[in-house]
Amino acid sequence: MIILIYAGMLKYSGFAAAGQSVNDLFKQFPASVKAVLGLGELDITSVLGYYAVFYLYFLLLTGVHAVMLGTVIIAKEEHDKTADFLFVKPVMRSKIVTAKLIAVLINITILNLTTLVASVVFVEMFNTGPPITDKILQLMGSLLIFQLLFASIGAGIAALTRNIKKATSLSASVLLTAFIVSAAIDLYNKIDFLKYITPFKYFPAAEVIRTGTYAPLFLLLSLLLITLFTAITYYFMDKRDITI
């Protein structure tokens, strides 16, 4: 978390130092090249367009955070050998899972809000054009969905696997694979159909900014997956034998 926020601050200080000259550079860009480089319809000369580039970094860092948090919080009781303590208390297991998921939710929201506040403050500091706070809000909204998706995937994986080592390895593989696939799609658009399997491609910043909404299909897919993995978490946590 601290590293994350630190990296965030670093980003903006770097932005402060070089933002202007980069903006100048981007002005000379022909549209055709931008398309190849995956910048699409983003107008990178504006603060908004420039900010959208950072969106990928947010995805990466919050993705790591969400998937690991989801995994660890579900898997840790047995690892810490505190399962015998917690699961014999007079509460239903589903209640424990609920409490844990709420904790994840709060944690994720705090991270999201931190990013939001930092974004708004720092962007406005360097913004010379019209305010873009509403667009930032939209981007943070899709970021939150993305976070929730990876957190639920992490929790689901933890509920399905027997020990924390396997769970974190599997979650890490899922995240890395999703990221690599999204990078491959960027590179080679003929495999665009793979975008359904990588959340990194669900809400591309350019789309969100251009349309001002989230693509309904991907919104639905996200909600479906979040529901599915949450259900898996509840179901398998209820079923599993507690071993220490």
Binding site: L10, A17, P30, L60, L61, V64, K76
Partner: protein, 265 residues
């Protein structure tokens, strides 16, 4: 020797798994190379007309994506990313393993000194990395070679591939250091991913901002592929930086571990 053998036995499967992932990555990406190179060739002339400062800002300074080596250099950053995650994971887990699985009371009461233990454990990590890199370099050179059109700068290809282990050593050293500094490490991968991705994002940032100071912060910037292809050599100052950081972190690891209290169960 017995500790070394035991460590290797315990980590072999993970090493094979990660090495397979690396090679698979090269294979899949290179599979996309022929169609992409055709697409890119169209724009190549436009790109080449750009001022150098602009191209640097885009991270495509000297990388010619239509050339097999340029393309390989472009995807190599993902190889570095995965390889670094593995390296850091190994670095963090190898010394903290005894405390995490509570076997310190077994190993550390044996008639061996702590530095013997650290030696054996680091050696096992290095051996894994060595095997991984030999396998990876051999296979990736074969794969890249299969896609070459006319000539291929073999020296540059080897230099690019050899930068993997150097970045990995950075993360091993960092992992070792963190594992003796952070008191209670319960799970390895969350810290690993957090740290490696933080450095990775700094590198992405460095690519778009090209701030010379920023480049020293992240090892991903130490071995610039474009520059390697152009000069067939490494940047000396980064090479030294990397070496110094690795040495300092490793020495600190030995010193701290030597005097560390092993928490009771």
């Amino acid at each position: 020797m017995n500790i070394f053998a035991q460590e290797l036995k315990m980590s072999a499967i993970s090493m094979i798994y990660w090495t397979t992932a690396l090679i698979l990555l090269v294979f899949v990406f290179m599979f996309m190379y022929p169609p992409i190179s055709k697409d890119i060739a169209v724009f190549e002339s436009i790109l080449n007309n750009f001022p150098i400062s602009l191209r640097r800002a885009l991270g495509i300074t000297t990388l010619d994506l239509s050339e097999v080596l340029g393309f390989y250099g472009f995807i190599f950053v993902y190889i570095l990313l995965i390889g670094s995650v593995y390296a850091m994971k190994s670095g963090i887990s190898v010394l903290s393993e005894e405390i995490r699985s509570k076997t310190a009371d077994f190993l550390l009461v044996k008639p061996v000194s702590r530095s013997t233990i650290v030696n054996a454990k680091i050696l096992s990590v290095l051996t894994n990395l060595g095997i991984q890199n030999i396998l990876f370099i051999t296979l990736s050179c074969l794969i890249v070679n299969a896609y070459k059109q006319d000539s291929l700068d073999a020296a540059a290809l080897v230099l690019i591939n050899a930068s993997l282990i150097q970045v990995q050593l950075f993360f091993v050293a960092l992992g070792l250091f963190l594992s003796v500094v952070i008191k209670k490490i319960k799970t390895v991968l969350p810290i690993t991913l957090g740290v490696v991705f933080a450095f990775f994002v700094i590198q992405l940032l460095n690519q778009s901002l090209d701030d010379p100071k920023l480049a020293y912060i992240t090892p991903f910037a130490y071995f610039d592929v474009g520059q390697i292809i152009q000069n067939s050599s490494y940047d000396f100052s980064f090479l030294v930086t990397n070496f110094v950081i690795i040495t300092v972190l490793t020495v600190l690891t030995y010193l701290i571990y030597q005097r560390q209290d092993i928490p009771s169960l």
